[in-house]
Symmetry: C2
DNA sequence: GGAGGTCTCTGACTACAGTCAAGGAATGGC
DNA sequence: GCCATTCCTTGACTGTAGTCAGAGACCTCC
């Protein structure tokens, strides 16, 4: 804990401040950040949400960037209230220059290290980033019909539709009422208010639950999030008096199968007529599981 | 490199900004930082140097803190121009509250992690900090009579005086002219403009140099800095046509002996009449050493 | 006993970051 | 067709950070 705070202080002082300062250089920091966030184009609404800025403040900064010839404002056809901000060639060049400067700064910071030390540093940072991200993700029970739940399921369906040789029919997804209240549960994992994973639990038979649709956003994989979702679903099952949970996976999802085995699931014979099923698993839950 | 920048961005956004923001809370960030830096008391001059602030700005902020009853200004007896800033009990309480808040924030960030994951995170951060610090340290050749060189040698002498059972007589230190120009070299390692280590090279005989006074500040140990200093001295020796370097160490400095062996030094018979010598080492240099 | 330098304080600024409220234009639901 | 809502813009502010120049008190060195 003390070590954590120590690192934070040291790192912020050495890198954080510098980074921002050099990035802006000849331009107010707010504008530089905004320009960077615009990227290849974004709506003002989106930028306001993402950066948490006041509408008036954002409007003015955007105008300033426009006056400098760095961005263009266009009105989208489908909604005349909105404004899309797009970088001009000059704006793109400016961002590239920002990146170049930041890279040069980073290179300068690493100058004193040999290749082996750099590799060690990179590995340590990757580990720290992975764990910090995982620490920042919260798993919440939401209504199966909520927008976030539907968005996750849509992404899940699109994801496996691309991976299954036979595709995936969205009609096979759980219905909201199956995962609500006593019947079951729907969990969504949030990273900085953005849903990045989900999992569903439904009642299969008395005392037996089924786990379905465990999914993690591609950008949030390899953090250990699927295990957290699984543990949360197991806890939800126990809370509903379901001492046994089952699930099936498609034959192509080999990593998923490995994870279920590692989490105490044992392969069992086919228990349903799911057309996508290739492997069936079961786990008997005890109170300490999913804690 | 990309990973490095990625981590910087992520970390700054997640931790750095928050940290500062929460720290200040009901007080301008500048004042909060200043109060923290004052610690148990400091002179305005010192604070100005350390924080890189404008004299007028600092004066005003200090006055503001004084008006809030958080610090006291006293004039030191030895120089009436200076002002010492000391925290009042209320100021101390304020800093403690800052710390408490920052700790709570950090604890909140780590909440989602189990003990094993926390340990992994802490280890990764310690590694990253060690390497970043090492990367930020520069080794420079300075005049043996310079203030920094003398400060390092004084610290070195005090250090080993405490460790040698028989104490240490400063008369045994190299004289500035022995480590100047063609005769030898004096290296000082700087971390953020502060000298944190040194090493001396002098000519012992034609083609033979002697390395002396390799020292690292207690707060900069275990970074691998002694090896860098040693490599720098070897390079300096080669540049002066000294293909062989020797050195001696006291019997109690066992870590130093291990380091010399690891760096290619072989123990040899006594080659001088140094009263502090307990082990004598030699290394034949090749062009690639010390590069 | 100056002369030159150091240290602090004060006044007068500037720029950036951010907030609040009013209002116009457009949209969507009824 | 109306009304509430959304989205953006504009004007009027506030507070913080930071700079610059001048002046007074004091110190050190010669």
């Amino acid at each position: 804990m003390a070590a954590f705070r120590r690192f934070n202080r040291y790192f912020t002082r050495r890198i954080g401040v510098l980074d921002d300062h050099y990035l802006g250089q000849d331009r107010p920091l707010g504008e530089a950040r905004l320009l960077f966030e615009i990227g290849e184009g974004a709506s003002l609404r989106e930028l306001r949400r993402r950066l948490g800025l006041d509408a008036g403040y954002l409007s003015r900064m955007t105008k300033a960037l426009q006056a400098q010839g760095l961005v263009r404002l266009v009105v989208p056809a489908h909604d005349n209230r909105l404004r899309l901000v797009e970088p001009t060639p000059a704006g793109r060049a400016e961002v590239a220059e920002q990146q170049r400067r930041a890279d040069a700064l980073a290179a300068g910071l690493l100058e004193g290290l040999g290749p082996a030390q750099r590799a060690e540093l990179t590995a340590a940072m990757a580990t720290a980033e992975r764990l910090l991200r995982l620490a920042g993700i919260t798993v919440e029970t939401v209504d199966g019909a909520s927008a976030d739940a539907r968005a996750c399921l849509d992404a899940y369906a699109a994801d496996i539709d691309a991976r299954f040789p036979e595709g995936y029919d969205k009609a096979a997804l759980v219905r909201p009422e199956e995962v609500t209240g006593d019947a079951g549960a729907f969990l969504v994992a949030y990273e900085e208010q953005r849903p990045v994973g989900c999992g569903a639990l439904r009642r299969l038979a008395p005392g037996v639950g089924e786990i379905r649709h465990v999914w993690v956003h591609p950008e949030a994989r390899r953090l250990g999030l699927a295990r957290r979702l699984l543990a949360g679903l197991e806890q939800a099952a126990l809370a509903r008096g379901l001492a046994v949970v089952r699930l099936d996976t498609h034959a192509v999802l080999t990593e998923a199968q490995a994870m279920y085995r590692a989490c105490g699931y044992a392969e069992i014979p086919r228990y349903n007529d799911d057309v996508y099923g290739g492997h069936w698993f079961e786990k008997r839950l005890r109170a300490e599981d999913g804690a």
